[in-house]
């Protein structure tokens, strides 16, 4: 399968979930599913074709996990959600922020208040990863403006014992033993939200991604810059130079090349919108050594919007996809050389996931 064959974009918005698929003329948009709920994140286990999980939240009706068995055409609300035990960490479940599927069937969930959970029974029951949730450095964690979440979960596809997660604010942590033990992984990363420039933990990190073909290659977008690790998070190198701003949420690796990545720069922590009202995607092909704007087809003025942390995704066929806070969904099928607007009036887009669905 190549190009757009079987491609579907699973788009989580503030008012439900949409499925965008390329059609003979333009794109077909199906939805809203899970209507009225914020769909914060989705994941599609690679060893269960057609299965998609969604993390949803509603101001009145609470936070829930949904599952589709048919590529997103219908959804079931599951009975249980990951949560801290009574008495731990402000027990009220604010949100499920992130879902990740590991090889072999294990699911992980990151929640607000920050915590990591796993399920070995297709989300029927959830268990805390206590060594992280009760980590001795937890007292360095604190809520960020977007909440107090564990929002990025990376699993080494070749060795599911190796995990990395990110907490806002708290920093990146890594485990080599399937979550039995954890160490902070922030060496070399400035923490401008703290008085100590290079603390062990407590960093405000917005997004962490791992390259699927080289799991030692990690990228992180922070509150104040972009960093790369070549050694599985043991150390980090700043790669912000060449970007028009040091703030941002969205970053994604190109599955075809561990040195290629995409980022959407934003102005600063005060404005939290793309720089100068120009919606630009930056690409690096040398692991952040240099950056180029890849913005043919994107608005070059008066675009005062943002691209949230889960709202940029890539696929192995050269696809790059993102959604904006203004409800615009953009797609490039050629590595960001040019862009088309798939939809312009969706609700605020919270997450975009590219999947392949057999028809």
């Amino acid at each position: 399968m190549s190009g757009a064959d079987g491609l579907a974009l699973v788009v989580g918005t503030q008012k439900g979930l949409f499925i965008a698929t390329p059609a003979a003329e333009g794109w077909h948009i199906d939805g809203p599913h899970i209507a009225g709920y914020e769909v914060i994140h989705t994941c599609a286990p690679s060893d269960e074709p057609g299965v998609i999980y969604a993390a949803a939240r509603h101001k009145i009706w609470g936070a829930h996990v949904y599952r589709s068995e048919n590529g997103g055409r219908s959804w079931d609300s599951l009975a249980t959600a990951p949560q801290h035990a009574p008495g731990l960490h402000q027990t009220a479940l604010e949100a499920i922020w992130y879902l990740a599927a590991a090889p072999g069937g294990r699911l992980y969930a990151g929640i607000d208040p920050a915590g990591l959970f796993f399920s070995d029974d297709r989300a029927a029951s959830w268990h805390p990863v206590a060594a992280l949730n009760e980590h001795p450095t937890r007292d360095t964690w604190e809520p960020a403006q977007g909440g107090f979440s564990l929002h990025s979960i990376c699993v080494d596809p070749t060795d599911p014992q190796r995990l990395w997660v990110a907490v806002s604010a708290g920093g990146v942590y890594r485990s080599e033993d399937a979550g039995v033990s954890w160490v902070p992984a922030n060496k070399g990363v400035r923490a401008e939200n703290l008085p100590t420039p290079y603390p062990e933990s407590g960093h405000n990190v917005h997004r962490l991604v791992m390259h699927p073909a080289n799991p030692d290659r990690l990228y992180r977008q922070c509150y104040h810059g972009t960093w790369r690790s070549d050694d599985g998070g043991r150390s980090w190198i700043e790669i912000t130079a060449g970007l028009p701003g040091n703030f941002g949420y969205a970053i994604a690796a190109d599955p075809r090349d561990p040195d290629a990545l995409f980022q959407v720069p934003e102005s600063d922590a005060h404005m939290r919108a793309v720089v100068d009202g120009r919606l630009r995607v930056y690409r690096s092909r040398d692991a952040g050594g240099s950056w180029q704007s890849m913005s043919d087809g994107l608005p070059s003025a008066n675009a005062w919007i943002t691209v949230l942390r889960e709202a940029l995704d890539t696929d192995a066929a050269g696809g790059v996809f993102f959604g904006t806070s203004g409800g615009h969904l953009f797609a490039s099928l050629n590595g960001a050389r040019n862009w088309e607007m798939v939809a312009g009036f969706l609700p605020r887009i919270l997450s975009v996931k590219a999947v392949r669905i057999e028809h």
Partner: protein, 92 residues
Amino acid sequence: MNQITVQIPAPLRPFADGASELDVPAATVGEALANLGEERPALLSRILTPEGELRPYVNVFVGERNVRRLDGRRTPLAPGDVMAIIPAVAGG
């Protein structure tokens, strides 16, 4: 045990097989919710928090009285009572 009627708001009817009302046996509000959710966990999880409390923006009325101003989930029910689940009108 008393048989009472529970009114289901429109956003929750997909989790109650489309029903706008359900009859359940219950002597208290808590029993009514537990019986309501016994075979409908997705419905109950939208009314109660994971800790088992009424969600902050969900109100339960017995007749015209909000159970938060009565005895909460221990509020007694009489045969034929109508218990309404109503999302709070909050925000703009």
